[in-house]
Amino acid sequence: MTLDWRRIGLAVAAPTAALAFALLVTALVLVSTGDPVWSTAQVVWDYGTQPRVIALTFNQGTVYYLSALAVAIGFRMNLFNIGVDGQYRLAAFCAAVVGSKLDLPKPLMILIIIATAMLVGAMWAGIAALLKATRGVSEVISTIMLNLIATSLVAYLLRKAAVDVAGSNNIGTKPISERGALPGIPLIPDSPLDVYGFILVAAFAGVVYTVALGRTRFGFDLRATGSSESAAVASGVNVKRMVVISLLLSGAVAGLVGMPQLLGGDSRNYSLDFPAGLGFTGIAIALLGRNNAIGMALAALLFSFLDSSAIILDINDISKEIVLIMQGTVVLSVVVVYELVRRYGVAAEQRRVSQELAGATDEPATPAGVGA
């Protein structure tokens, strides 16, 4: 088991190093703009640990987490679903429209809304999946195009379905009735704000993700394809089918991204100011959390914590955009550090294995992995 500890150590060391580097960069930026580093950190920490803000952090983190999960399903198979952004917006819009037309018992209503969102998300991702499986079109470019198309499509449909939102010049879909509201959970003591009930769904999704990938045949096939497509084919995996299935699943989970807001927010509709860009944040979080359910949960909370600290930075006259720099730096440095750690890990293990075996055998073979 010593070996496992080495691996865990490396796995933890990588994000820690990246985070430290990002903190350093952020501190340097603060210094360069003449802001005090230590007291800024103090202010952010004090603000971020208030019960209400913690609840906010959890709420936003839930959304981020779902988005990261959707991205990670693709990542594990070496597929880049850049299109989570379009998938969740279209899904949330359709779910909002369907929900507003329903009047059913609460559980049924919520289930239908969620199912609609997952279905629409999966269908939108399915376009990219079909293009890849049948025509060999790279999912990177097709999902980007589908994002842009979704933006126009949602704008158009919203104008068709819109009603004025009271008290503003915002437009949105007709609100879903009270029966479609998913109650919050008073998770944080002393917080006036409840945490989205959807956090349970997100946690459940994380468990399903972990179990399905790590413990099932399907998950093994998916990971094998991501690790070596040629070996997966030789082992009997139907790669085209896996591409379609995993993109559909990714899209379905992407459909969930808008649900905490839609079912747990106050307005329960899809309006012009429905949050956008969550899909890209999801990519960042999946990278930071290394596609690991717990890692992504922590990364989502970190991003969300940084987001909420923007408000207090603004109040303290420190430019809140420093948060974006921190987030960007952490992502870029984490991918570099992961790659370095991976190389180091592989080389170290090869060395160790050949050392442990030295004497037991004298093999003149070329070192593994270097051969043609």
């Binding site: 842009l148 126009s152 960007g328």
Partner: protein, 429 residues
């Protein structure tokens, strides 16, 4: 790429005379001639559409001029993609580099004039490119992952810098630079008025040609001229010089390049930094020529669209220009009575797709033929049953076109063989 070289050419004709992708060393004079012929054919078809549908704006000088201006940032982003991918590095970070370019241009432009803004914009983009090169070439990070990270970082950095640099500057705000002086516009003298007269006659083909010529040759920003020259220059550098051959060899077979003493890392660095500079230049164009200063969110995904234009153009400068032109054209239509114009284009699209379907059917590619026929027929039905296309559909036209092209022609696209692959020194052989 007959389908892509002449987006408006009659596919049946090109089917009769299939030409090979590789015509680099043959028929040196035929390139410009072919382009002119293709352009003529395009104008002719638009002219037919205009007369049939009565959508007079689709070939007006205003539309064409706007199309040109709108296509330049896309073309510059596409050039960025071309440089990078020809050296084997996928650059999805173009969007972030472009954002850096818009900001750099806005920041330097209001202080030291627009041309300095252009340079600084390119420089900012190049810094983004350098970052991408460090991550992908030196550290072997997955190209897509690094690109996504750069997009996030580019957005964050510019928003932060805006607050720091533009606070308290008159005319500026947290999310925009002060207004910038514009770059001079140039025209071929003595053309503007007669062409306008001609265009107003609404004669078949002649008026259309006049409109197109007026749009292309009058009131053009100098930066547009520079950008077009850069397209030509890219072709010359990448396909005619030793440097270009070495750079492209890194995208086709880095191990072959290395075995012949080419410094693969250096070439890749050069290409990706240049790529960033081009994207930054596209951003600068947005800030200085298209807009009136830097504004947050100004790029609106044009980095991605540039990438699409490059793929549409089969990783070649000419094709890329055609792609960027197409995107710019559909973009410009929606500015000028878009609903009607795009509606008219449905007719063209329908006819073209049916022609493609027949071509494919003859070639016994039944599934793509059926898809083309179906979509083509759909477009015609849509044309016949409506009078206007909603604005949102105009917006998505370029993206849908890209998807269609990819779906129908993906097998014929030829990306550099080692594009997107990790490369480590000494791994070859």
């Amino acid at each position: 790429m007959s389908l892509l070289d002449k987006p408006a050419g009659d596919p049946m004709k090109t089917a009769g005379a299939p030409h090979r992708v590789n015509h680099r060393f043959r028929l040196p004079t035929s390139g410009p001639v072919r382009v002119l012929l293709a352009l003529g054919a395009l104008v002719f078809m638009l002219s037919v559409v205009r007369v049939v549908s009565g959508a007079n704006d689709i070939t007006s000088s205003g539309t064409i001029g706007a199309a040109l201006a709108l296509s330049i940032p896309i073309a510059m982003a596409g050039l960025g993609g071309l440089w990078s991918e020809r050296a084997g590095v996928v650059n999805i970070g173009l969007e972030g580099m472009m954002i850096l370019g818009t900001w750099g241009a806005g920041w330097a432009g209001y202080q030291w004039g627009p041309w300095t803004g252009v340079l600084v914009g390119a420089l900012f983009g190049a810094v983004g490119g350098l970052l991408h090169a460090v991550a992908t070439v030196s550290f072997g990070v997955d190209h897509i992952v690094s690109g996504v990270a750069i997009n996030i970082l580019g957005l964050g950095v510019t928003q932060f810098l805006s607050v720091v640099a533009f606070e308290g500057v008159p005319g500026a705000g947290e999310s925009q630079s002060p207004p910038l002086a514009n770059i001079r516009e140039v025209s071929i003298p003595g053309l503007a008025d007669p062409l306008l007269t001609l265009q107003k006659k609404e004669w078949f083909f002649v008026s259309d040609l006049a409109g197109v010529a007026r749009g292309l040759f009058t009131g053009v920003s100098l930066l547009t001229v520079v950008a077009i020259l850069l397209l030509v220059l890219t072709y010359v550098v990448l396909w005619r010089t030793a440097f270009g051959l070495r750079l492209r060899s890194c995208g086709e077979s880095p191990s072959a390049a290395e075995s012949l003493g080419v410094n693969v890392y250096l070439m890749k660095y050069a290409a990706v930094v240049a790529s960033g500079a081009f994207a930054g230049l596209g951003g600068a164009f947005l800030a200085i020529v298209a807009g009136n200063g830097y504004r947050e969110g100004q790029t609106a995904g044009r980095g991605y669209i540039g990438l699409a234009a490059m793929i549409f153009g089969n990783w070649r400068p000419g094709g890329l220009a055609a792609g960027a032109g197409l995107f710019g054209f559909t973009d410009s239509l929606q500015l000028r009575r878009g609903g009607e114009s795009v509606h008219a284009l449905l007719l063209l699209l329908g006819a073209l797709l049916l022609a493609v379907a027949i071509y494919l059917a003859v070639k016994r590619k039944l599934l793509p033929a059926a898809i083309s026929a179906l979509v083509g027929a759909g477009a015609l039905v849509w044309y016949a049953t409506t009078d206007e296309v909603p604005g949102a559909f105009t917006t998505m036209t370029p993206y849908v076109t890209t998807l269609l092209v990819l779906a129908l022609a993906a097998q014929r696209l030829r990306m550099p063989a080692a594009d997107g692959l990790k490369y480590r020194k000494g791994q070859g052989g």
